[in-house]
Symmetry: D2
Subunit: 333 residues, 4 copies
């Protein structure tokens, strides 16, 4: 059994880690910390866990690091970089769900507006479909952002083939990505019967996409009236001709053996992957006259876009079956 | 391993049986029938099962009965009574999700407007919290309706205590209870931003409630803008005084050991039980002047209200741990 | 032209007053106050008014009272009672949308937990269908609460007929009734795919219902996943027999000439009255064995439940056509 | 007073025409036809009109044409071209809400797969912001499609300036655009908590955009969980540099005097234009490195995207104030 800890367990990603890990056959949850909820029962915060997870939030980070084989850090951006070094020092492996170790330091500092206090640390970008071998040996995995996961997986094969001039990712996300605290955007009268574009050109996640894809990338996110899920419409502008059949074949080749990528011709739906670690990719369409290839990807932002992918990384890091605790159907309808 | 069959696998309850059973550690799904989809891949109908359930719909009911330890019949009301006898004859146990064996024959014939063609058959009403011992030995279990499950569980303890003069159940249900086929009520412009009362006094399910509770029962269902879930507001009119503390204690005593009932003081939420077999009961409030006790119950109509409860019954019938394959947290948020 | 002022114009009811009044042919909006938004353009707060209402929020209450024929006070409960006397003193009529003048003082002080500082003032309860004649001559109208409007209109005729033993109002409301500020209940992940019961026995509005109806009244509100609208299911327990036909006839007689009440046999829908001042009443059903009559009413909580009814009262107070500026179809779908 | 007729009045656009026209001070609705509902009361089909529009559906097209100054044809594509000639012949002007007269004949026949039976007829494309002068004198106006209205208005000024290489319109539409009949896409369990891309490269409306804009246009529509509204994200790829300030100025200049276009810096919202004839345009953002200008437009698909624009055209054709009956605030929240 793996001894597992969670630092920062009161948010949606913390709750989702608990939802997944409490059913994982090789995991023992040892401790869950929270600065603001010390001593409170976990099931009072995550009421879906009532009768299932019988623990309290604690505040013993050094102890966690010593007792745990792996710790998930689910704390806000700019906070993780002060916690992670300590955890690693005491011998735990770390999977960080914040942005602190995803980017090159210079871009990170520009985007997040703070100095990085743990500059020299090397982390592996935790996208198993691309970095699986590196993840196996990693002590620190930087779990990808939700938008980059859906976008990069949608575009990587065709980019690697050398066909792409530029990509415009137009993404539609459920509101849970914005967290547990009520905001203007999450206020029901504002979001229901609506769709809210934001950060039209400069969302923080675009840099992750650019670093991983290496082509001209534009990105505009929109919040939809949904709790979970990200659907990304990848408008891929081609610089070389190819047929639709060839495009589909490139994806088949790239993802044939991937346990959590499902390819199909028809259009992916948030309904098919709700609550799961799958990234479904489909809807391939080629607008020949305009050299535009359209690809649709869907993920659950809290699972493949965060906590599920983190557990997938854990499975890889500890030599477990990559699908363990994660391979179940979506809640559909 | 139990060999399990499903008759009528294309609807929501069929899909939900597959979602649950494909992760059940003691179940082998042997065959899934459908008159209209013979030869079609299951994952083409239930696309959330892609890559997980690799089977085709078949039409071999006699064969199913011979090969299976238990068959779930998920066919429309009035159809089951012609299928169930055959299945039982060939040696399979049966859990029927239709209404055909839930009621006394006379009421059934009045409500469904057909003659019952299998009148003499005895079935056990599959509400484990009430009939667990009978279910153990049953060959045929009549799985309860979705509304009755939530309503009866909300009211049974206080009724048994002899406190109740009458009950008005005002229920709010997600639209998935109405099935996979688009209708006026399921048409998004009609249901979104709305709530639709229907069958204000004569919903078919009220008779189940009356037979099980034995007091004066009224029932008015409403469709809410939700996919899953039933929240029932039980307005219980008392004929004997009791304190709120006593009322809560009656429920604690009744349900203390129930694995799928969670009691609490605060108000239950569809969010906490989404996708699960739990029935959460809470919100206990006593309006003393008016002798009204209010109790709120929530279930997932497709799980505890249908397929999950059916699997719970299966576990009991075959001596398995009642929680097997069913004990996991709700998808929240 | 009537000179009209609004005190407290930044909330939903203030915005809705502006939406309605800006199209009213006999109204000139003279001033709109807001403590927190002085000097801000109204269209920056109510962006639907852009290009239509070109005014700024001011803070000149005495001046308002002098310049206006009528002032609407749309301020929180317990605030109105210190503003209203001043407005009346300077010669304006007042329509108060708060609860401050709706109840007898003793009940008010018990429910709102403050001493009433304007105890002797007499206000008319602004439900035109019941108090039209009194409203004509009123200087101060206490505009009814949203839930009481829908509930009282649904039940008054049958109560007046002497048929009623008790009523249980089970209401379902859109979230806009809770105001413009984000809260736990208005947080999209909490409300979507859900229905939230609250104040199961002791919502502040129940006292209004009791004072107006004079029979045993119970009330349980639920928030539904909708922006606007209240649907009330009135479970009326009868003490005298009557036929369904007679019940319907009682309503026809009572409401035949009412411009804003529409009666019909089929089930009312929030969709038909969205954005309007109508109260649709229907769904009449008689459960004879249990002496239960079910009646459904629907209103738009921000219109007939607040600002629209306030304008209806204004029309009556100033001898205008009661329908003026208010008689248009709902936004359906 | 204008005598007005509607051919095909049972659908959403027919209902919306009635909702708008019944409040238009210069309009008398003379007749509303429907093949399937002859003799039925209009308010039984459009229940929001109860007590307001007291007419029956008729089937007297020749008569309509003789009695009416203008007829709106709200019939399916390919049906209008057999009705319009007759109406014109008998002396009525016609505003056709179908696609039959929007495109050049060759493209029309390719896209709709039928031969055009009224090839020689000249119609004016009814986008007042572009063709106002031509509309004044038109006998036949082809009312634009919903998507083209939002897309063309979002892009026309910058295209006319000669700055544009190509545009990708990624649109998000409420489901009412798909009509009153329940479908797979409008089935609540399929659409709620989801977003549905469709016709990724070949939606019929793209040709309208191409004919009007004259540059390389790509278009991908998505259905969102909303009843009304289209939000279009215009990803404009520039071929010449310009500053964001210049871009905004181009729009200010183009639309300064337009009564139904509202420009602003912040992000447009479906909530601000719900139920109205406005097209709000904003969210201007310039991604300099990638030569991408992002512009957001919002319309109500049933109003500015259909029936409201049709009435706007009517006002222009008959020399009325263009805003008459159409200039009111959106239903927000």
């Amino acid at each position: 059994m793996l001894n597992v800890g969670i630092v920062g367990g009161t948010g949606y990603t913390g709750g989702e880690l608990l939802r997944i890990l409490c059913g994982h056959p090789k995991v023992e949850i040892v401790a869950v910390t929270s600065r603001n909820a010390i001593g409170k029962k976990i099931e009072e915060v995550h009421k879906n866990l009532r009768g299932i997870v019988d623990m309290e939030f604690v505040d013993t980070r050094p102890k966690i690091a010593k007792e745990c084989d792996v710790v998930f850090t689910a704390v806000p951006h700019t906070k993780a970089m002060s916690i992670v070094p300590e955890l690693l020092k005491y011998g735990s492996k770390v999977i960080d769900l914040s942005a602190d170790y995803r980017l090159n330091v210079k871009e990170y500092e520009r985007i997040y507006g703070v100095e990085h206090t743990d500059k020299e640390r090397k982390a592996i970008y935790g996208l198993p479909e691309i970095y699986r071998e590196d993840i196996r040996d990693a002590d620190l995995v930087a779990n990808p952002g939700c938008f980059p996961t859906g976008a990069i997986l949608a575009a990587a094969p065709i980019v690697r083939g050398g066909y792409v001039e530029r990509i415009i990712f137009d993404s539609k996300t459920g509101i849970s990505g914005a967290g547990v605290n009520p905001t203007e955007n999450s206020h029901y009268p504002n979001l229901a019967e609506n769709v809210i574009p934001y950060k039209m050109i400069d969302h923080r996640h675009v840099e992750e996409m650019r670093e991983e894809l290496g082509v001209k990338v534009s990105f505009t996110p929109h919040i939809i009236a949904a709790i979970r899920g990200i659907l990304t419409t990848a408008h891929v502008i081609l610089k070389r001709k190819l047929t639709l059949k060839d495009a589909v074949e490139i994806y088949n080749t790239a993802y044939r053996k991937e346990p959590f990528i499902r390819l199909y011709d028809d259009i992916p739906s948030l309904s098919y992957i709700r609550g799961t670690n799958f990234c479904d990719i489909g809807g391939f369409s080629l607008e020949e006259d305009n050299d535009r290839l359209v690809i649709i990807s869907v993920i659950d932002n809290l699972v493949k876009g965060a906590s599920g992918q983190a557990v997938q990384n854990m499975n890889i890091m500890f030599g477990l079956d990559e699908k363990m605790g994660l391979f179940y159907p979506g809640l559909s309808p």
